[in-house]
């Protein structure tokens, strides 16, 4: 559906996007992930034809988007980052206008508008004036706008930015429900969002593609030699635990050891991939005369991957370039952690 090759965007001396190549297959839901300023919006704006690339090629479906921009744009429903809307219009008037502008034949406009209102769940407020809507509703109107002409490709720039956790969940469910009929490319700096909604992820940092792959495989490969994390809570001396585990086969490293209330200790264990590792740890702890209260394995989250990529790069980054914002990404994650699904505990 999307095929991008060596896409570059320069603003004077600053390179916003450098040599970016990727493809998105029909029906996929792909997440574009990166800290603020990574070049996500710039890339999406080039895909949707708002910005002209400095170099490179873009194909949308079978169309060369740079040679035949109108045809390419006809296949895209785009929701820009700030969700700009005309505040003086009513929702249904606005959507009817957008439908007609996107070439929906006059006789189909009403049906398409009704369908988009329904999908974006704004039917009940359809006659409200846009300027008086809450942020969450505006976001959904933007989504309805992207959907109204029923395009095969949806490009959503930060669709959940500025929403409360409930609204985030609603938008995420909506995106997931679109997956079958539409190809979706969405950008975000919120990690659980990608893990929850996307099958595949592209990690962008400082205008370059750092990593690409299925959400699950990335988690595995980026774990590197750490195939498994164990979290352990037990009763006993911290040093005793560390000593007992240090000699256990399969255990690479013990991290994050700290005392909890009531004489309990918590440790994290980085281990290799052997399946019987939990039993090994149990045996080692028991042999040392210590008591185990909790032992569970944790999947490596995309957040770990993301932090690893973006902070590692910052160390060797040039001083004048924009620093990555892992803190901000992590901050945005906190409020949402409850909904993060598997691997959410850390």
């Amino acid at each position: 559906m999307i095929h991008v090759e060596r896409l570059t965007k320069r603003y004077g001396d600053r390179i916003a996007v450098r040599d970016l190549s990727f493809s998105v297959k029909k029906g996929e839901v792909v997440g574009f992930l990166g800290p603020n300023g990574a070049g996500k919006s710039t890339t999406l704006r080039m895909l949707t034809g708002f910005l002209e690339p400095s170099a490179g090629s873009i194909r949308i479906g079978d169309v060369d988007a740079l040679a035949r921009p109108i045809e390419a744009r006809r296949q895209i429903g785009y929701m820009p980052e700030a969700v700009p809307l005309y505040p003086e219009m009513r929702i249904d008037e606005y959507l009817a206008y957008r439908a007609r502008l996107k070439g929906v034949p006059r006789r189909d406009v009403k049906r398409k508008v009704d369908a988009a209102l329904e999908k974006a769940r704004v039917t009940d407020v359809r006659t409200r004036i846009i300027g008086q809507l809450s942020k969450g509703y505006k976001q959904r109107v933007g989504l309805a706008d992207a959907l109204v002409a029923d395009p095969p490709l949806l490009v959503l720039d930060e669709p959940t930015a500025g929403l409360d956790p409930n609204q985030i969940r609603q938008v995420r469910d909506l995106v997931r429900s679109l997956a079958g009929e539409h190809t979706v490319l969405l950008s975000t700096h919120i990690l659980p969002e990608v893990e929850a909604a996307c099958g595949r992820v592209l990690i962008l940092h400082k205008g370059e593609l750092k990593l690409e792959g299925d959400t699950s495989t990335i988690r595995l490969t980026m774990g590197g030699n750490t195939a498994l994390l164990l979290s352990l809570v037990g009763r006993g001396e911290r040093a005793a635990f560390e000593a007992a585990l240090a000699g256990t086969p399969g255990v690479r490293r013990v991290t994050d050891a700290h005392d909890l209330d009531g004489g309990l200790v918590r440790l994290r264990i980085e281990a290799d991939g052997r399946p019987e590792i939990a039993e090994e740890v149990f045996r080692a702890v028991a042999a040392a005369g210590l008591v185990l209260r909790e032992l569970r394995s944790e999947a490596i989250s995309l957040e770990d991957v993301f932090t690893q990529i973006t902070t590692h790069d910052a160390d060797e980054g040039t001083p004048e370039s924009e620093p990555p914002a892992p803190a901000e990404a992590a901050g945005a994650t906190d409020e949402d952690r409850g909904a993060a699904g598997p691997g959410g505990a850390s």
Binding site: Y78, P80, P84, Y97, R98, D145
Partner: protein, 250 residues
């Protein structure tokens, strides 16, 4: 073309739900009504009109610039938001990512601006009606006058569209429009300052005063219409370039 009509329709809707429309149209009607009253009082004092140039209709539309000076202010106010507002609020991004050509966007804005212009002038037909009740009105002169006014609209509104697409700030757009229209207006006035200048013809060609003096007598001088259309074409060409350049830059 149909995309332009869709854009124009939305623009007209937005204009007429905004207070700008009512403030400008009210101010304009107050002003033109005042001018009409002053001129009619003058004609009434003169007794019988002596020549075509003192025919009341010619006097209204051609005998004075009083009618046209406020346009230098009202036109910028009406056109300033056309593109600048969309650029500031970001809705331009929606417009330019829709399957619509840049030229269609500009054409839509321009069509809307011409409708604003007509909305200003249609109410002035009541002055013609009033005059016709108390004296003779030459329908040819009236027709030519309104053709001339439409010509000025073609030219003024195009300049307004251009300036609005150059800036994201509406005030800047309005000031640029005012300076350009005011400058061209002054160029026309120079005709009377430099009577012997070799550029006198050029000055008179650019003068909306001379323009309307001819049309108000029923004289359809196509040179003025060519001037209007030429300025409009140049302005709209650059407006499309300005919108397109948005795609290349930040």
């Amino acid at each position: 073309m149909s995309a332009s009509l869709i854009i124009a329709r939305r623009e007209i809707f937005s204009f007429f739900v905004s207070p700008i429309a009512y403030v400008v149209l009210t101010a304009w009607l107050l002003w033109s009504g005042g001018v009409f009253w002053v001129l009619m009082s003058f004609v009434a004092g003169q007794g019988v009109a002596q020549s075509a140039s003192q025919n009341p209709i010619s006097l209204i539309f051609g005998g004075t610039t009083l009618f046209y000076i406020p346009l230098l202010v009202f036109v910028p106010i009406m056109t300033m938001r056309l593109v600048a507002e969309e650029r500031r609020t970001g809705t331009l991004e929606l417009l330019l990512t829709a399957p619509v050509r840049d030229a269609e966007v500009v054409a839509g804005k321009y069509l809307a601006a011409l409708v604003f212009w007509l909305a200003m002038w249609v109410p002035t037909l009541m002055y013609v009606w009033l005059v016709s009740r108390y004296g003779d009105v030459d329908p040819g002169a009236v027709g030519a006058s309104y053709l001339g006014i439409f010509g000025i609209g073609v030219y003024y509104m195009a300049v307004g569209v251009l300036m609005s697409s150059l800036s994201r700030n509406q005030i800047v757009a309005a000031v640029l429009t005012f300076l350009t229209l005011g400058g061209l207006f002054m160029l026309g006035v120079l005709e009377f300052v430099f009577q012997d200048s070799e550029y006198k013809d050029l000055f008179s060609y650019a003068s909306i005063w001379g323009h309307m003096e001819a049309f108000s007598k029923g004289l359809v001088d196509t040179r003025f219409l060519v001037f209007d259309v030429s300025i409009a074409a140049i302005a709209l060409f650059f407006a499309v370039r300005a919108v397109a350049s948005r795609r290349g830059a930040q």
